[in-house]
Amino acid sequence: MKKLIPLLLVALLAMVACTSEPVEVTRVVSEIVEITRVVTETIEVEGVSVEVTRVVTEQVVVETAATGPGVTPLNAPDVYGLPRNQMLIVDILTGRIGSPNNFNEWVGWKWRDRGMQNLANEPLWSVDFATGEIINGLAAGDPIYNDDFTRLEIPLRQGVAWHDGTPFTSADVVFTVETLMTTSGLNAHTFFSTNVASVTAPDDHTVVFELNQPNSRFHTTFLDRWGATWIMPKHIFEGVDDIVTFEFNPFVGTGPYKLHSYDQSGFWTIWEKRADWDKSPTGILYGEPGPKYIVFQYFANEGAKILAHLTHQADVVNLSSDGLKAVLAQSNSSRAYQLSYPWVVNNDPAITGISFNTMIAPYDNPDVRWALVLAIDIAQYVGIAVDGAGTVSPVHIPSLGSYPADFIAPMQEWLSAFELDLGNGTTFRPYDPDAPQRIVEYVQNRGFVVPEDAAARAQAFGLGWYKYAPEAAEQLLIKNGFSRNSNGMWLLPDGSPWVIRIQTDPNMATDLHSRNAVAAAQQWKAFGIDAEAVPSEARSTLFQTGDFEVSSEWPAQEPWGAGADLYRVLDNWNSVYVKPIGEVGAHGGRWSSPEMDAVIEQLRQTDPADYDAVVAIGIEGLKIAVTEMPSIPTFGYIGFIAWDETYWTNWPGAENPYTQPYTHWGPFKYMTPFLQPTGR
């Protein structure tokens, strides 16, 4: 025992010593330098605003980093050997990288938002949902289809090189497609082997596909909307024996950044700006990226993430609703996407809501699904879920970008006239164009300031939703043989209690699926149904195999986020994808209808670029979905992000949405040239 005491003391001393020991660190040194920059200003000339550009020279204090034996290692940011003020640190959305050594995106799930899709790789095209544009990356323009959609030609961008200097050509595309067609075990193998008859390269910058059957949307597999088919560098992959187990380390891409280093535990990945960034599509399109280094870092809990953000150790963080409030309350250097309430990113092209398994009674009955819609007070619902910050949509696409103008506004008349048959000869018009106004009242009661402008309100809260009509819901249910017991609780037609268990994710507080589930459960409980949100790790499995009754899964497949083509949304309801319960299917809700199949078929034969036709058919599809209500669309997906402006400014906020605002989406690379250093 006696021997243990000094041992313990030594151990304790060692622990203490290592905390005060000066270590080699990055030291911040201030110096005054003269810089020249281009300033754009708006000035008034004879009552007209004119933009002028002028060159200014000024002296600023620049803090540069020097490596050496520092004396204050504990306060310096934890960025070993790399200058903090040339570095951007963002948090990785999908969490800790499970396989940090493996960059082979073509096999399994590889945490592609660690910087692979958003910095180091360029797709053929990208969706930018903020501008509604399709950005040409490796492609030089739109694909050119033949008349019956069995052949297409893709023009490729010239002057692009992989970051190791090898030029990017059509040979890379041909190699990629042929490899995908022949190698089973690659994610896209089945798609390419069933769709593609042949792929050829008439010249270095053109690729021609011959398809097995007509497919007017074949090219969208190369369109990056949080993932796409990527092009392999032929000169690396052609020597690989087993592509499935190949680690592709280091990653070789055509993006403006290249791999610098990464953590063996998967906590961080550092990317460095290419010296020849002008050989990447980003550089060609938008010029030189700002940050020299971009770090993707993982935080295992939101509290630590916020602390890192507040201490300027993470510039961009993805948060929960309350996490964002905490940041805005504690920080004076951070901003959110919007500068005032509701602060959040509300133009994400996805709609959240509640899904039903339409193969299981009573959810196979549209009347029952509609009754559940009418039992929801959308203002309270959005209040419970996201404190009023949601943009509601009455149809199965989100109310953002061009969708309100293209679809939801033209549908107002139809929606207002839409009637439900309540039985006993009465009908009911469920649509309520003033639903957003009810949300505005909720928000004002909470003490938040709401814009007065009607257009701004419509953008923030949506164009309309459905009435809160428990009486109508009651009649719909009674019409179908439901009844209430003596306590006022609902009974199924067979007389047993109606129990709804809404499957959702385990992280009940932060996840929008769960917030929908909780809000729906609260609403239906108030209506007299034994409803409860039930978290399950297996939610996604159970949804696909149909082993659920009600789930908070996406109510519909997400639209592209750019253009007016709703093929992606509607085709998911195609009856050929419906699987019996127990089998994995693309379509968890298992709803289909001959009318919808007809709409899908019509859309397949329409050129996606034909705006008028695509919108008209899309509206028909949305009408069928509203009539049948296979799932309940509620509010658009909300992103809670905070940007620290200590080191970098000119973020694409709501007042200046030059590109989509996320760092985890592919077009983040197109944001980098616009980020401006503060010089600190």
Partner: protein, 287 residues
């Protein structure tokens, strides 16, 4: 009555007795609660403590004072079920194994070792995931009891092994006592403090594990317990948003609960232990 008077002479017993009474009274208030702690936004959210809401309201619009009453009751149920039920397995197993030795010992220790070696957390997480929908407070307590006995059985068995070597067992055997009788009569006084200590450990462990499971989202989150209260407070960033009353309530409640249990067990096991009892009597005589 004399027992209680003797016990109350110990300040620790008095203190824990009072705390426990207060906690029990508080938790029994839940039976008369004016609110349903599973209904959101029935009242204003994020209200600081006031005369209307003694401990304020949380970000879900639920009164913290009342959900605290439910939480302490529910966590106590889990801890008691886990602690008491597991003692019913631990004590007989340890006594039999330690006293009988040989084959009995080997079989019993084989069973308890099998429970011990499977990573406990893995199994509890797996089972919680599997039966979460039906995971009531009692089932959670029983689940924890199933895994809370094996460790203590080993500890108590070692104590009995060492007691057995102390000679007095031989005399007892010679005087013709039966196994269980002997075990209870001869060993129980000596292992009682250990039983109490392990009981408190198991209850503290059960409360702690309930909190851990809740923080990971593995139990029903709309039943108020100490764990689920902490879960919601942490997920809604109560600390960084300055809503201290929300997080502090379950934390202080669990500290108080533990203090009451700990002192209660310490003072009563000292009281039960024949040797320190003599000591105390001697002291009180001197005084």
């Amino acid at each position: 009555m004399k027992v209680l008077r003797d016990l109350l002479r110990d300040y620790r017993f008095t203190a824990s007795f009072i705390i426990l009474c207060i906690l029990l009274a508080y938790s029994s208030l839940s039976f008369f609660s004016p609110i349903d702690p599973t209904v959101w936004v029935a009242i204003a959210r994020d209200q600081p403590p006031s005369s209307q809401h003694l401990l304020g309201t949380d970000s879900r619009g639920i009164d913290i004072f009342w959900s605290g009453a439910f939480a302490i009751r529910n966590s106590l149920i889990v801890a008691l079920v886990a602690g008491v039920v597991s003692r019913f397995i631990t004590i007989p197993v340890a006594m039999l194994a330690g006293y009988k030795g040989g084959m009995t010992d080997r079989v019993l220790m084989f069973i308890s070792d099998s429970f011990l070696v499977i990573p406990l957390f893995l199994i509890i997480v797996l089972l919680a995931v599997l039966i979460r929908e039906n995971l009531s407070l009692v089932t959670l307590g029983l689940l924890l009891a199933c895994f809370g006995w094996a460790w203590d059985a080993r500890v108590i068995r070692s104590e009995i092994l060492s007691l057995r070597e102390r000679g007095f067992t031989q005399t007892a055997i010679l005087s013709g006592s039966g196994t269980m009788q002997l075990a209870l009569k001869e060993y129980m006084p000596f292992v009682t403090p250990l039983v109490f200590a392990t009981l408190i450990n198991v209850m503290a462990w059960a409360i702690g594990l309930e909190i851990t499971l809740a923080i990971l989202g593995l139990i029903k989150l709309d039943i108020p317990t100490l764990g689920t209260m902490i879960f919601w407070a942490l997920s809604y960033q109560a600390i960084l948003l300055g809503r201290w009353y929300w997080l502090l309530t379950p934390v202080i409640l669990s500290v108080l609960l533990f203090i009451a249990l700990y002192w209660l067990s310490v003072s009563s096991s000292e009281y039960l232990d024949p040797r320190s009892r003599i000591q105390r009597v001697g002291q009180s005589l001197r005084a």
